[in-house]
């Protein structure tokens, strides 16, 4: 059982590291600010998430497990909020996203309040 937990734990840790690396490479590779945010959010979600899950398997039942879950929840919420704040700040200060097109799901009727 011990060895099984170790194997699962290491698979999660290695996969998590791979996603963190992918996020970092995407951050450098994508062309402009708004697409780079998407690469950073890989690191935030699956990268950090898998590493935390790997550590949870190492920790076993106990307080450490509960603390790791709290850290994971906090980092998910903080990462989301930070991404949104950055994107909104960039838009407000006049940076326009380079896009191939825009779409509107206006299904008739509802007037926009803005």
């Amino acid at each position: 059982m011990e060895i099984l937990f170790d194997i699962v734990s290491w698979i999660c840790l290695v996969a998590g590291s791979f996603f963190c690396l992918t996020g970092g490479i995407g951050l450098l590779r994508f062309p402009e600010f708004f697409s780079r945010i998407h690469a950073a959010s890989i690191t935030d979600t699956l990268g950090a998430g898998l590493i935390m899950i790997g550590l949870m398997f190492q920790a076993g039942w106990g307080l450490v497990l509960a603390k790791l879950i709290l850290i994971l929840l906090f980092s998910l919420i903080a990462g989301t909020t930070a991404s949104h704040a950055m994107a909104k700040a960039a838009l407000k200060s006049g940076l326009q996203p380079q896009v191939v097109g825009t779409m509107d799901s206006e299904t008739g009727g509802a007037p926009s309040k803005s």
Partner: protein
């Protein structure tokens, strides 16, 4: 009163998990500080259904499971495009409508969109969301409105 009770329970659980020392002295510190913080929050008038969304208790775990699945699928897609290079992306800005009735519901929807890699909420005004999507497929997935319907269902 129910909300104050819920807040106190949450704070106590948070303390117990983070402390690890269960001697009478430390536990009495916990009681004192929880009562103090609950009193402060009550005076600030922030203890209500919005900060303690008790009505979501039973409906939200199912949504979380679905959201985790969506996040993993989106992660793999965006990671693949990182390795394929900038040619594989097709950024779009889309405007969509949030059908939730409460502010809390709309915030859950907007945050879920941001949490999913490949889509970031840029702005939320009234019930209109402005979303930046990394690919056409991600944009099309949001336009179908499945996430919108699921959040509305959570809201009850």
């Amino acid at each position: 009163m129910l909300y104050v009770l819920a807040l106190s329970t949450m704070l106590s659980a948070f303390w117990l998990v983070n402390s690890g020392h269960y001697t009478p002295l430390i536990l009495s510190f916990m009681v004192v500080s929880v009562i103090f913080v609950a009193y402060l929050c009550h005076r600030m008038d922030v203890v209500d259904g919005e900060s303690q969304p008790l009505n979501l208790t039973f409906s939200i775990p199912g949504y979380w499971l679905w959201l985790i699945k969506e996040v993993v699928v989106a992660n793999i897609d965006v990671a693949r495009r990182v390795w394929l290079g900038p040619k594989s992306i097709s950024p779009m800005v889309i405007n969509i409508k949030a059908s939730q009735k409460t502010d809390l519901g709309m915030v859950i929807y907007a945050n879920s969109i941001t949490l999913t890699p490949g889509t970031v909420t840029l702005d939320l005004q009234g019930n209109r969301l402005k979303v930046h999507a990394l690919t056409k497929e991600a944009a099309a997935g949001l336009i179908t409105g499945e996430m919108d319907r699921r959040v509305s269902r959570v809201e009850g």
